[in-house]
């Protein structure tokens, strides 16, 4: 009996001992992770400090006294409330447009052979690597001709019109794999072209949709160049990333106001990430797997 106990205890001890290196590793990693997210912690702390306290520098994250006024300033005077709404509007609509149009195109290209389908695919692949930044000048020109330059809708169209070939190709690859029987069953049930797509095929493609939506979301939320150019003459249409740049240009001493503006711009996307983490991860890993 004593022998048994000893064995048990040493067993448990060994188990704890064998876990110990892992816990140490985890602790080290937590340390690294804290350094990793330090800029965000610093920004958060800066956003609650007095501007003068910021300039005196130092590492202390805890403010002497909490200055909530920074947020009021960023939200109202620097218009970050409005910029945030602009950004959300632009991002959501762009994500919807991109997802739908890429799903539609990917579907037809994958499931049907028609005159020009090869050429269509060929052009898409050929432009896969066109960097959008360099084509900005004609984009501005054409938006101007369409009278879309000073509007959010123009910005949305431009954002959802560029690139995203990879999204089409993702849908293309996915729809190609779906067995034909499914489609035929739908046809037998009397579903037409459109209904087959929306009630059978699109729901099947949920994982791809998640991937595309998440990738588009990150790209659009972070977009800087296009929104910059589209809002030159309409400051009230700025998105947060452009607004931040303008803030720096206009009120250089207000570091804490800027930090507050940064927090306002970053918090929504971080919160979203925490809730939809799985889709973010799958969205990104989708790029390697397929």
């Amino acid at each position: 009996m004593t022998a048994e106990l000893t064995v048990e205890r040493s067993d448990r001890q060994r188990r704890i001992l064998s876990r110990l290196p892992w816990w140490i590793a985890a602790l080290v990693l937590v340390g690294i992770a804290l350094v990793w997210i330090f800029p965000f912690l610093w920004m958060l702390s800066a956003s609650l400090k007095d501007s003068m306290e910021m300039f005196s520098g130092g590492l202390r994250l805890w403010p002497d006294k909490f200055v909530w006024d920074n947020y009021a300033r960023a939200w109202n005077d620097a218009h970050f409330g409005r910029y945030l709404i602009n950004t959300i509007l632009v991002t959501v609509i762009t994500v919807v447009i991109v997802t739908v149009r890429c799903a539609l195109a990917g579907y037809v290209l994958a499931r049907y052979r028609f005159r020009g389908s090869k050429l269509f695919l060929g052009i898409l692949v050929a432009t896969l690597f066109v960097p959008t930044g360099y084509t900005i000048i004609p984009v501005v020109k054409i938006s101007m001709q369409l009278h879309l330059i000073d509007s959010l809708s123009g910005m949305i169209l431009a954002l959802s019109g560029g690139a995203y070939v990879s999204a089409i190709l993702l849908y293309y690859g996915y729809f190609r794999q779906i067995p034909r029987e499914l489609e035929e069953a739908a046809l037998v049930d009397g579903a037409g072209f459109v209904r087959t797509f929306f009630s059978v095929m699109l729901p099947l493609a949920m994982p791809v949709t998640a991937t595309v939506a998440v990738l588009t979301f990150i790209a659009t939320w972070n977009a800087f160049f296009l929104p910059l150019v589209f809002t030159f003459s309409r400051p009230d249409l700025r998105t947060v990333s452009v607004g931040m740049q303008a803030f720096v240009g206009e009120t250089a001493t207000d570091w804490s106001g800027m930090a507050a503006a940064g927090v306002i711009s970053i918090v929504p996307v971080v919160v979203l990430f925490i809730f939809l983490q799985r889709y973010f991860v799958e969205g990104i890993s989708g790029a390697v797997k397929s």
């Binding site: 003068m52 300039f55 109202n76 005077d77 620097a78 218009h79 501005v140 101007m144 009278h147 330059i149 000073d150 150019v229 030159f232 003459s233 309409r234 400051p235 009230d236 303008a246 720096v248 240009g249 206009e250 009120t251 250089a252 001493t253």
Partner: protein
């Protein structure tokens, strides 16, 4: 004139960027939104003068009743303004009046349908100085297109000091050294007292330090402007004066008298450090007082100013500038150019001119109002210095207005003097003189290609337009027009 426009553009943009939107601290109703330009009954007004933001907002209200029109003023951050104006122009949405930030020579503005002739009441016209009406700069074929706003007697390169810092280091802030050795000693004392001695805006695109080197080269004896020698019409950036100035900055840099980070500072970054009391000395334009006040109001009481530095104390710090350039234009799209002209005319009223002086930015055309104004002494001292030491320089475009064509074909030459300073202080450039010679050659070549193109397009221009053998230092150039 490219240089001219560039300079005024830079000066303006620099102060606008730096000026830190006064309105940002006020209520939210001054949002950036624009009410539709050009509609009858509405006068849209766009500018990029951040120090005048509040003044202009108030003035718009004031003039709304005087002109019986809804005057809508919108301020644009200077770094965004050129693009904003270009887009608006293409979309035919230009405001009735707008500030000069586009950077095109006047002839291009006229042919590109950017501007409308300005009609001013006679009494206002007589208030403007004679040299404000210059063919090719503000006028074309005798018609006035550009409304001048600022005096030519100003400088980008005065020494500004924080009295507290200088006092702590045992220095007299009311007697700022005017020569290199004295200035360096003073900075050394600041450093000895544990303070950051000096900052300069060397970073960003180097535009500010470029202007300052040009100014200091003049006080160091360079008989020309932006590398161009008045008497020979040749580019000579490799002139000893330029070398002297840049070597002096290098000396300060190597003695660690320049605040770390300055090599990467834009004007706003540098002025922020100065205005918040992080550094004791700053070389900045006459608008430093207004710009710093907008950033951190308490600094105003601590300011003292000096001159443009010269290598030795016995040198007269003479500087040379071109004729006043256009401050505002009336848009070709304007539905109501007469009212737009009246709005511009109102800027010449003593009330508005006083408002400009109190904002302590670029001094207005009427410098006589400065002495009795509420501006701080350091500002008045700066204006006095400029009045006594800044002179009108000869300009090719004045001699031959057809030179505007040449300017339109000029291209930016990089690296320019500002970039070179950045590279030399940072250690990327070791042979300064060779680099400056290269710049002279590249600028000469660029002028040659522009001249050639202009001639091919039918303009009667020649290299002689740049030669002013009768130029004399220390006086306004009034040579034959």
């Amino acid at each position: 004139m490219t240089g001219m426009t560039r300079r005024s553009l830079l000066g303006a943009s620099v102060l606008a960027v730096a000026g830190a939107a006064v309105g940002c601290s006020s209520s939210t109703d001054e949002s950036g939104s624009t009410s539709g330009g050009g509609a009858t009954g509405t006068l849209a007004w766009w500018d990029h003068f951040s120090s005048f933001k509040r003044l202009n907002d108030d003035w718009a209200k004031n003039q709304s009743s005087a002109l019986k029109a809804n005057v809508a003023h919108t301020y644009y951050d200077a770094s965004k303004a050129p693009q904003a104006f270009q887009l608006a122009h293409q979309a035919n949405k230009m405001p009735d009046i707008y500030s000069n930030v586009v950077g095109l020579p006047l002839s291009a503005l006229v042919s590109g349908k950017w501007v409308h002739e300005i009609t001013l009441p006679a009494d206002v016209k007589s208030k403007l100085p004679k040299d404000a009406f210059t063919e090719g700069i503000t006028q074309l074929d005798g018609k006035l297109y550009g409304f001048p706003m600022f005096s030519l007697r100003q400088s980008s390169t005065l020494v500004w000091v924080n009295k507290d810092h200088w006092g702590k280091a045992g220095l007299d802030p009311n007697n700022v050294p005017k020569d290199y050795p004295g200035f360096k000693d003073a900075l050394g004392k600041l450093k000895g007292a544990g303070l950051q001695p000096l900052t300069l805006a060397i970073g960003a695109d180097g535009g500010r330090i470029r202007d300052q080197i040009d100014d200091m080269a003049q006080t160091a004896g360079f008989p020309g402007y932006q590398g161009l020698q008045f008497t020979t019409g040749e580019y000579a950036y490799h002139h000893d004066a330029y070398v002297t100035v840049i070597e002096f900055l290098k000396e300060l840099n190597d003695a660690k008298l320049i605040m770390p980070g300055s090599n990467n500072f834009g004007v706003v970054d540098a002025r922020t450090r100065f205005a918040s009391g992080a550094v004791g000395t700053f070389i900045d334009g006459i608008w430093c007082a207004g710009g710093s006040k907008a950033l951190a109001p308490p600094i105003v009481d601590k300011l003292a100013s000096g001159w443009v530095l010269a290598p030795t104390a016995d040198v007269q710090p003479f500087c040379y500038r071109g004729r006043p350039s256009s401050g505002y234009f009336v848009s070709a799209d304007s539905k109501n150019p007469d009212a737009a002209g009246k709005l511009l005319a109102s800027f010449m009223s003593d009330e508005y001119q006083n408002g400009m002086i109190e904002a302590m930015d670029q001094p207005p055309l009427n410098l006589d109002l400065v002495a009795s104004s509420k501006a701080i002494d350091a500002y008045k001292k700066g204006v006095d210095f400029c009045k006594a030491n800044v002179f009108l320089m000869p300009q090719a475009i004045v001699k031959n207005p057809a030179q505007a064509k040449v300017d339109a074909y000029r291209k930016p030459v990089t690296p320019h003097v500002g970039n070179i300073v950045q590279g030399y202080l940072g250690g990327s450039i070791s042979d300064l003189k060779a680099e400056l010679k290269k710049l002279s050659d590249a600028t000469t070549a660029d002028r040659a290609q522009a001249l050639q193109k202009a001639k091919a397009a039918g303009a009667k221009v020649s290299e002689d337009d740049y030669v002013f053998t009768d130029w004399k230092p220390g006086q306004d150039y009034e040579g034959a027009k």
